[in-house]
Amino acid sequence: MSTPALEIIDVSRIHGRGDAAVHALRGLNLSVSPGELVAVMGPSGSGKSTLLNLAGGLDQATAGRVRVHGQELGSLSKGALAEVRRRMVGYVFQDYNLIPSLTAVENVSLPLELDRVKARAATALAKAAMDEVGLDGLYDRFPDDLSGGQQQRIAIARAIIGDRSLILADEPTGALDSETGEAVLALLRARCNEGAAALLVTHEARHAGWADRVVFLRDGAVVDEAGTTVNPGAFVAGHR
């Protein structure tokens, strides 16, 4: 069995101390393998975003371990952690987080340039990532000249560029219409089918439907999990 892309082992995250302490996560366990798309659902305050921040090394666990491709984030130096974030992890946020003064291709190549990849190579990889999400030909457009759906696809291209093999997506279809939102999910799915791993926070069941597994959070803990079977035939035979 290959090493999981992401392992969350008995992780707790407590904000504040004493009476004011807030238990955002309580001994949570979760593993995402290469090729897997795992959705996380739960009410506000259940710990979804905290989980995603810990998985991406943007926050530190109070207890427990977080491993990305076998590397324990808590044991890494600041520099090594930044490197894991730049090379292995891609983020897709609800509000895209694109830099308005950079062109589409510059936005996509930014993580590689920060990683000191030569500009020409970075641009070539950025164009390849943009082609993959169906944005070929829009390389030199600025974010403001693009639709919400196109901007979100740029954010996805930026998340998958190079060898990034763990994609963390927080409500990535936020303001998109349902058809465009579905296209974004189909892209994530396709990327996972090619071997990436993805953790998707969503409150939309239609979007969770694209996942292999759906994990339900309540009060910082996993309370249930759904969907391990691949059985599309069940529907045709008259499901429910």
Binding site: E204, R206, D224, G227, V230, N231, A237
Partner: protein
Amino acid sequence: MYGYQLRTEFDQTTGSTWPLNVGQVYTTLARLERDGLVVAGEEDEEGRTRYEITDAGRVDLASWFGTPVVSSDRPRDELAIKLALAVTVPGVDVSGVIQKQRAATIVAMQDLTRLKASGEGDLSWSLVLESMRFQYDSEIRWLDHCESSLARAARDRDQAITTIEPKTGVKR
């Protein structure tokens, strides 16, 4: 069109979400003929009868397309009734009932989404498929809503208890 052919086309269009037996099709055709909405032709050598829509049938069909479906025409929702009863029957883990349903609906949603991702089927089929995905989506939203209503009711109950307690002489 022949009865058997009608059934096959209906199945293809609806992705077999509404299975019909051929007997139902012939009974319905006989009723439509009685009401003058279709006419039956002569039986052919293979014993098949060809039906054709009449002008009155076209008017009726146009009126059907022009009339919205009202909720009283739909079957009663077993899930809503189940939850309504669950909150009244002592000892039922209502949150458990909700979560079980939510997980089952997600699995059904995954099945439908895999079908969507497979890209098979024509436009009619994809509209039926999406209709079911949206129904599941709204069911899960409603379950989320039920869960927060339950949580609120539990909080209100706890608060009522703490306000009543001092009167019974319990110091907190």
